[in-house]
């Protein structure tokens, strides 16, 4: 049943000094669909690939707003993500109430990392089964952090987590030198290219499966400021469904591809994933391993702050 006698609980070190339960928890993160984060000198962005469990289900959201200046992308167990993001929201609010200060991004990441550490040291607990990419902006500028169930929070220029994220990482490592001075549209295009690399051969990015979060000054060329006051203020905002259409088109143009998306998509996919069908059944189901983000979600929204959905 167990691979070895040292992997059945989190309070046992292996003879090599490893904690197998923690390493298995890291595997749970890889079961989730991909999430990518990048940052420039002025912006931080998150891009995620949403999954749907079937034709009757909408796509599970992967981006959560924590505060005006912080947001996360999740990969792994959604319910664990909700507990942790809730905690982050409380921490963020507490900082604003007691000090009138937006919580420093590194501190809020460390606060959940500390919680996760406890779950690796006490019997009867399990490590969290979710990884976060956290973007935020504070007095020291834009940031991107990765939170992992091991209880660590590292700061990156660019990073990817979740299923097939290694392919995205390869892209990011090749290009991250240019991120620092990139404009917002350039940064997003890099992110979409990296996200595209996590897809299987015959799959494509569409408005149904792609969602993008941004922190930093808005760019009216690619963002519809009329429907997003968060964008106007440079706060955390999410673009998905119709809202992400413009961003996807701009990206395809930059790659010299047909702006409407690949034509063969309709032919290749058993169920249609047309660009105009936000709630339509999609071709992306069963794209990778068993989805863990599988709860049916609330109504599609574009541009405004995202709220945690009820289950």
């Amino acid at each position: 049943m167990f691979r070895n006698s040292y992997d059945s609980d989190n309070t046992t070190f292996s003879p090599q000094g490893k904690l197998f339960q923690v390493e298995y928890a890291l595997e749970a993160v890889k079961q989730g669909s991909a999430a990518i984060g990048l940052r420039s000198a002025t912006h931080a962005v998150l891009l995620t690939l949403k999954r749907s469990t079937g034709e009757l289900a909408t796509y599970q959201k992967k981006l959560i707003r924590i505060d005006d200046h912080v947001g996360v992308a999740i990969a792994g167990l959604t319910s664990d993500a909700r507990v942790l993001s809730n905690f982050m929201q409380q921490q963020a609010m507490r900082s604003r109430m007691t000090y009138g200060r937006p919580i420093p991004v590194a501190r809020i990441v460390q606060s959940i990392a500390d919680r996760a550490q406890t779950n690796t040291q006490e019997y009867g607990r399990r490590p969290y089964g979710v990884g976060f990419l956290v973007i935020g902006q504070d007095e020291t500028g834009p940031h991107l952090f990765e939170f992992s169930p091991a209880g660590t929070g590292f700061e990156y220029y660019a990073h990817s987590i979740g299923a097939r994220s290694q392919s995205a990482k390869t892209y990011l490592e090749k290009n991250f030198d240019s991120f620092e001075n990139a404009t917002l549209p350039e940064l997003i295009n890099h992110g979409l290219s990296a996200l595209h690399d996590t897809l299987q051969q015959d799959k494509h990015l569409s408005i149904a499966n792609t969602s993008i979060a941004i922190i930093g000054p808005s760019d009216s060329a690619i963002e519809d400021l009329a429907i997003s006051s968060a964008a106007k203020r440079g706060n955390f905002r999410v673009w998905e469904n119709e809202g992400v259409d413009g961003l996807l088109r701009a990206w395809r143009r930059s790659r010299g591809e047909p702006e409407d998306g690949p034509a063969e998509e309709t032919a290749a996919a058993p169920a249609d994933a047309d660009a105009d069908a936000a709630a339509a059944p999609s071709a992306e189901e069963g794209q990778t391993a068993q989805g863990s983000e599988q709860a049916p979600a609330g109504a599609p929204a574009g541009g405004e702050d995202v709220n945690m959905e009820e289950q």
Binding site: M97, T98, Y99, G100, R101, P104, A106, R107, Q110, D138, E139, T140
Partner: protein
Amino acid sequence: MSHHPAMWKQPSAHSSFNDYATFPLAQTQRHSAISHGATQHTQQPLVTGTSVLGIKFDKGVMIAADNLASYGSLARFRDIQRLHPLGKHTLLGVAGDMSDYQWLKKELDALLRQEEALSLTDSHPSLSPSNIYDLLANLFYGRRSKMNPVWNAVLVGGWDKNKKESFLAFIDLLGTTYTAPTLATGFGAHLAQPLLREAFEAKAGVDGKGPLLTQEEGEKLIDDCMKVLFYRDARSINKYQVAIITEEGITISDSKSAPTEWSFAEGLRGYGAQTQ
């Protein structure tokens, strides 16, 4: 009960002794129902500091307070610093109960030490003057809501590194908060504030949009006000310090005195040697 500094340590109407307020006695009736069993919090300050003055000038803020901590009307401690720096760009000037002030110092120093320690790890700057002010406002209001006030009136002065502007604001034991380019606590609010405002507005205008006082002008103004306070406030001494907070940081002056003139008092009964 009035919390006005003029009332601190004054005998209440039904007190049969301590009429000269020479030392602070608890004002409650010793055998009243209240003193039996009921939980009581601080009812009055004991060792107190008087006015604190604050003014914005063109390069920052200055805050002044004298060196006296009174025990009732007794000038008990005559070398007390009531200006306390918090980090590189924030300074508190504190009036009211000195033991509450010492407790405040300890709490805030611990908090800032924690911030400083964390900043080695995440390189995030420490709390700004307005962050510290918000915290104090919450703390004072929270405590008064528990009927256990922190018995002080505080001026927070500082330099905001992000906004590149000076900061000056007030909080008292009720959690009252306000801000203005010139501020004073206690007697200072009556005796010095009009002088501060007059001088400030003479240059900056009523809307405060004109040029601010220079540091020299500001210091001169503070000296004048401290002199007036020493003449008229019986809980003050002629020994005070002035803190200057600018972009470069904080400097707190050595104790100094204002030149005063007392010859007019010679003819007053009760001053100097009795002639009859």
